[in-house]
């Protein structure tokens, strides 16, 4: 095997267009992180390590044939549920929420695993009953979604539970849940809003209230939103220039390397930068839809569609939250925010997309 043959085989299962879009977003991440970290290399270097590890996993998953992927669905889901129950019983409390499970060697956040595990399980379930789908099957799939969500919402982690709900809902939606049921669910959701409200923790209610009037609590919870909105607005059309964001570099922006990194980007690169970023995301999402429409099996179609839609949702929710049209729910900007776990989850998802794209010929008879 020549070097060239080896190389060709190495990249055989990587989707070039997806990889291009992802790489550009990851480069942006390093660029913005350097600025958000006050021109320090600490976080960019850490992030680079996170990226390398996540890319390796992405490559691995991309090379995994689809039937292996399907086979992982049940074990991952069951493991996820066990860990979630473990967290509920023995989890570490940090920032007033019980999200982490200390395994002795390392702490893990099982809710992160379920971002993949839930749609995977649901897609597997629909594939299993593809031929004889009845309303009952949708109900069971919904139950598969509902159980982990309740556990995660109780931690409490409203942001993650909402996002997993979204990814699960996308599977249901793509699996052909009838419009009537969707309409019914929508009405039911509206009707249950007061009930949900009463079940929420005070800080969750606070965040939602604040959305309507951040100035009400300008030094408390509103501070994040106000300062982020100021950063975005003061960026103007062309931005203040790289490393010149005053909101960023004078510490006015909280959590500016993680959830609020978009404010840093937007302050320094302005509306023009925002358009470029939205284009990059759109390109990746568009490629995701192409892959979805090519997908050969029911399972892979559902999986690819859900991954793509969920990715888009992440991006929208984060940018909406930073620019003050959504409550602060603690969702990172996908592929840009600092953090290893979300990077890994996202790239695992893209690995699956690539596997679905590159293994379809093998499945098709």
């Amino acid at each position: 095997m020549t070097r060239r043959q080896f190389w060709l085989r190495f990249i055989a299962h990587l989707d070039r267009q997806l990889l291009l879009g992802i790489s550009l977003l990851l480069l942006t991440s390093l660029l913005v992180l350097y600025s958000a970290d006050n021109a320090s290399w600490d976080r960019p270097l850490n992030q680079m390590r996170n990226i390398v590890v996540a890319l390796a996993f992405m490559w691995l998953i991309a090379n995994l044939p689809l039937h292996y992927l399907m086979r992982t669905a049940v074990p991952i889901y069951v493991l996820g549920m066990v860990l979630l129950i473990g967290v509920a019983l023995f989890g570490d409390i940090s920032h007033g929420a019980r999200r982490w499970l200390n395994l002795g060697v390392t702490t893990i956040q099982p809710s992160e695993l379920m971002k993949i595990g839930v749609p995977l399980m649901m897609a597997w379930y629909f594939e299993k009953h593809e031929a004889t789908l009845t309303l009952k099957n949708y109900f069971i799939a919904a139950l598969l979604l509902f159980m982990p969500i309740v556990l995660i919402a109780r931690q409490p982690d409203l942001g993650t539970s909402l996002l997993i709900s979204a990814s699960g809902f996308y599977v249901l939606f793509l699996a052909g849940l009838s419009w009537r049921v969707i309409g019914g669910l929508f009405v039911a959701a509206l009707a249950s809003a007061p009930v949900l409200w009463s079940m929420m923790h005070d800080y969750q209610r606070h965040r939602i209230m604040m959305l309507f009037d951040p100035s009400q609590d300008a030094l408390g919870n509103g501070y994040h939103t106000i300062q982020a909105t100021i950063a975005v607005g003061s960026g103007g059309i062309l931005g203040k220039g790289y490393l010149n964001g005053t909101q960023t570099h004078l510490d006015f922006l909280p959590e500016r390397t993680t959830d609020f990194i978009f404010a840093v980007y937007s302050e320094e690169f302005g509306l023009l930068g925002n358009l470029i970023l939205l284009s990059l995301y759109s390109f990746v999402i568009w490629r995701g839809f192409i892959i979805t429409s090519h997908a050969s099996t029911y399972f892979t179609r559902l999986m690819a569609g859900s991954i793509t839609l969920t990715f888009a949702t992440y991006a929208f929710v984060n940018m909406g939250m930073v620019s003050g049209i959504l409550p602060v729910v603690g969702v990172p900007l996908p592929l840009i925010s600092y953090g290893g776990t979300s990077m890994l989850t996202l790239l695992l998802g893209f690995g699956m997309l690539m596997s679905i794209e590159t293994h379809k010929k093998l499945v098709k008879s």
């Binding site: 607005g233 103007g236 059309i237 937007s266 925002n274 839809f289 839609l309």
Partner: protein
Amino acid sequence: MKKRVEFKNHQREIFHFQLRLVVGIGFLSVLLAILLVRFVYLQVARHSYYQTLSESNRIAVVPIVPNRGLILDRNGVVLAHNYSGYTLEINQNKTADIEATINDLSTLVAITNKDRKRFKKLLVESHNFETLVIRNRLSDEEVARFAAQQYRFPGVEIKARLFRDYPFGKKTSHLIGYIGRINDTEVDQLEENDLAANYRGSDYIGKTGLEQSYESDLHGTTGIEQVEVDAGGRAVRMLSRTAPVSGNALVLSIDAKLQEIAEQSFGNYRGALVAIDPNNGEVLAFVSKPGYDPNPFIDGIDTQSWDELNNSPDVPLNNRALRGQYPPGSTIKPFMALAGLNFHTRTPEQTINDPGVYYLPGSSRQYRDWKAGGHGSVNMFKAIQMSCDTYFYGLATELGIDNISNFLSRFGFGKKTGIDMEGETSGLVPSQEWKMKRYQQIWYPGDTVSVGIGQGYSLVTPLQLAFATATLANNGLAYKPHLVKEVQSPRSSENRFIAKDPLYDLHIDPKDLDLVRRAMVAVTQPGGTAVYASLGAPYHIAGKTGTAQVIAMKQGEKYDVKNVDERLRDHAWFIAYAPAEQPKIALVVLAENGGHGGGVAAPIARKVLDYYLLGKVPKPLADVEVKGGSEHD
């Protein structure tokens, strides 16, 4: 067959799936549009608004308080200056239990009961974002002790500040006044006068005396530092700086040593002394006894000390020289004599017979002379020299109240002199209109009789009388009295002089003046009422004694010092100028409840004149050195 159905189903299924995907894409497009609209709104439509917010986030404007101007006497002796020192201050927002904190602090730093009381008062008056002073003037040792324990007191800090200090304390309290913390009323006033910006960062403002009257000169111009701050409020770098301009220095016409001698010459008497250079209106000494120590007022005096000062029967807070209103008594006689000559009511040679009592024509009411049995045959010269009451009863009656009030007003009686200090009172020259307005009564001839000897309704302030005496000493050429000679700008040599030109000339006939002035010299010569005043003096003193009644005597009742409560005894006046031929100084002495002017007031005047004209320091004062402030600056 079965395969065909499956195939068809598959096709339909794919179609349905694609449909769902298109719906999903449509959904995402809506979200994308929402984001785009939001970005354009924030970054284009509202950009300037958020730009402003971002700038105000980033830039803090820090005022730099200017140094307050110094106050110096005419020879450069420091009367008010600034020194830097340390204060211990409590930030009430960062301190949960203030009482406990103060108790803890008192184990490290001496905190007296007065400090606590003053702090409580500040706490009541303060705005809640201020840090408040619990202790002033910490010693180096105390600073070190606290610094070692500072971690225990998160809301307590040591600050270096410039302090105002009045080295002469009581002796110049009514002259210099004091500064104090700016109160709400003053904040409103500053805002009204558009001065609030210049007082950003300033804690103090002149409250009384020259500190108040010359506030606009003394304060200076506040500087501005624009600094970039981070979210924690720490200054990151300086963007621009406008240096503050120190306040102007005041050079007074006051002679500090003269002031000190005058103050001490009063001994235990309460009263006032105003000495003026008749040739230019410069006030040389400005004493009100008793004084008070102005220094505790600067950072808020404690309630107990305040009550003591405020409720004292001696009223130490009253500026007697400026605001005290007393009947002028016989000191008005030289001016009455001038009025008589001016209106040709009496000639100098005209004599009257003084039997010791005066009756208005057709009245049996007695107006007694101070000397039982009277002075016999008296002309104008002798009437002044011996202070003959009967002569002036008659003169006043002949002049009539209209002429009297007209003439006395020309000497400045009954109106403010316009001295450069706020709060002056105007005294009172009674007139028919005044009495009608005040009491709804007509003017009786008997009212005029009392006015003739400076009693009745007449009131003067020591300052007014000094101004009139100076005008007399200067042959009717009046200069507005002023305490500040020069306002020195710290930046340039453009110094401002206060009141250099004469106010007006009364154009008094020199012959009239000559008579009255000679008579006033005779007052201090054998046969006069203040002979001791000039005993052994190598220069001539022109003077006039006076006695102002505190209580009115009933008809037929005799005033006896022994029977009258100390505080109801007569006030002693003495007005004088010297040298009589070429006056360099004119002065007024008022000794409250001092009895006869010649006995108490004249000797005080003599000590002041001796120092000013001869440089002679009175014996008990010989070892008192004038303190200069130079070692502090």
